[in-house]
Symmetry: C2
Subunit: 335 residues, 2 copies
């Protein structure tokens, strides 16, 4: 930097100012720097910069599982939002493993990020780790809530979204059964079950919940084997199944196909299946899957801007803010 200062005819501290914020120096100076920059291709040493800065411009983005397209999509949105705001996103996937989430937060600690966007597993047992982490770094949660923790939460209003699809299903045919995994990690799954019960009660129809054994994150497989078992045994009380998420629905539809059960709402259809999340693959199932679309972009952007606001003002909000976006009904052919 010393050398570059010499050849560019600018003093080192001013250069330092320029690299921190090009707008903070006089235009004529900025032009001089940028002219020199095209010739000498100097770039500040990230490590030296971050060592001396009070705070880095890094933002940690922690996702539970990149293999799930939902998270890779929302991760992408979040990354782009960070870049647009001049931050450097650091993407960490926990690979479906809560222990890895803990390790990721630990790793982030060393990187001294300005803030973190966290889509947590939401397991009760991880609460303490997250709580501790939040003390040191401003964190905005998204997708999955951990009650009362961190600065804010942004997600989908499961009560609204589930009610929307339950209402549609009741209006257009038999009231839906509810299919889910037995002890889900994800708090959204619990919310959706509750929402289903509430909504069914409001419509004055009987609720039927079916819970499958199985390991988390293997949703399609669970949907196919366990869902298939229920279909084969003709164990569902109605001909309409609302799955807790699309991946379960995808598995169940695969099972239905191989059992020769025709799914849909048209001629000759024997049953209806609906999902939740508008998984990228949902439009390509056979038949295409009726589901609830979460507003990926809105959630990602709101989470990001919420964090940026905290970072800009430099003070954590006095009240913990929860923002819930509405889901929208995506009517396709399966229900």
């Amino acid at each position: 930097m010393e050398e570059f200062a010499a050849v560019s005819g600018i003093s080192r501290p001013t250069l330092s100012k320029y690299f921190n914020d090009p707008e903070s120096v006089r235009q004529s100076t900025r032009e001089k720097v940028e002219r020199a920059l095209t010739q000498y291709d100097y770039r500040p040493n990230v490590y030296a910069v971050n060592q001396n800065r009070r705070t880095t411009r890094n933002i940690g983005v922690v996702l539970p599982n990149l293999a799930d397209p939902f998270f890779s999509e929302i991760g992408r949105e979040v990354e782009l939002a960070c870049i647009a705001a001049g931050y450097s996103p650091i993407l960490l996937s926990s690979h479906g493993n809560p222990e890895q989430e803990r390790r990721n937060l630990e790793a982030l600690r060393s990187l001294k990020p300005a803030g973190v966007l966290l889509a947590p597993f939401g397991r009760v047992s991880d609460r303490k780790d997250i709580e501790n982490f939040c003390k040191d770094v401003p964190v905005v949660l998204f997708d999955a809530n951990v009650e009362g923790l961190c600065e804010a939460f942004v997600g989908t209003d499961n009560f609204q979204s589930v009610d929307l699809i339950v209402e549609y299903l009741c209006r257009s045919g038999m009231p839906p059964c509810f299919f889910e995994v037995k002890s889900p990690l994800n708090p959204n799954a619990n919310k959706r079950r509750q929402a289903y019960l509430t909504s069914m009660a409001q419509h004055g129809v009987e609720a039927h919940i079916y819970q499958a054994e199985g390991e988390d994150w293997g949703f399609e497989e669970i949907g196919r084997t366990e869902g298939g078992r229920l279909l084969r045994g003709n164990l569902f009380k109605t001909d309409t199944i609302l799955c807790s998420n699309d991946r379960l629905a995808i598995g169940m539809m695969s099972a239905a196909y191989h059992l020769g059960i025709r799914v849909g709402h048209g001629e000759g259809a024997m049953m209806r299946i609906a999902g939740h999340d508008d998984h990228p693959f949902s439009r390509f199932t056979c038949p295409s899957l009726t589901t609830i679309a979460q507003d990926y972009a809105a959630i990602a952007n709101r989470a990001a801007t919420t964090l940026f606001n905290i970072l800009d003002t430099g003070q954590r909000p006095s009240v913990r803010e929860e923002t819930l976006f509405d889901g929208s009904l995506v009517m396709r052919n399966s229900a």
Copy 2:
């Protein structure tokens, strides 16, 4: 570190040695450090460390698109391999955008990674960027090759894999047509087309290639619309279609379903569809997709260990090594 040295009763330079390599200090010393570590929870400042080290322990992992499950899977394998070898992976997705790939390499430059694992788009236009980057940092390519560039390449032997499935299809029914996108970014697509032609010639049957217009990365949509158009018009010369990748096949099978065309090799089946890659969803299509499985784990691990070897020996290999793994046939119900 000074303070921690005081309380742990170890001198600072020795501590420094310990954190660089715990094995490099006497066992009694190591135990003393680790005992103190449980009490005082000190951790070295990453930025200060990386500023002074000759080389960081970071490894850049650049993927073309995390939204594609193939890459998120292989990225996961690579990440775990890095961690196991004591490196810190830095995952960067180019979001399907070659320009972003360039930016990612640029960003990596500042992070001074010890090495980079790159799954490139493989566009000719990006060749120069990659070539320049390779001069500064050891790079191992995987998945997609860029002829003659970087230290090594690890991927799947498309000629072997395509021949395998062509042979199976010819043996078990009509010889396959080949369906792909018109001007694919990915060099594997070109290899597969060539492999198809070679293999068909060897079997003494006529080759038929169908190329769809459409934007890259929207494979399912292309498969459905363009593949559907061809199906509707009954334009394929045989009843068997080999798709250049599973995502095209998934789209085409969706189209076939909605057209009432029964796919498979059993009773009443009207046509066969096969894919390539063993996409995670392939087993859940209707019917389940016959395809070629690439050995994700082997490719990821070989690419990683190849890079580690270069880093350990400190010298780049004299000859550029290309490692191709065999694909394996996954027989399901679609063909």
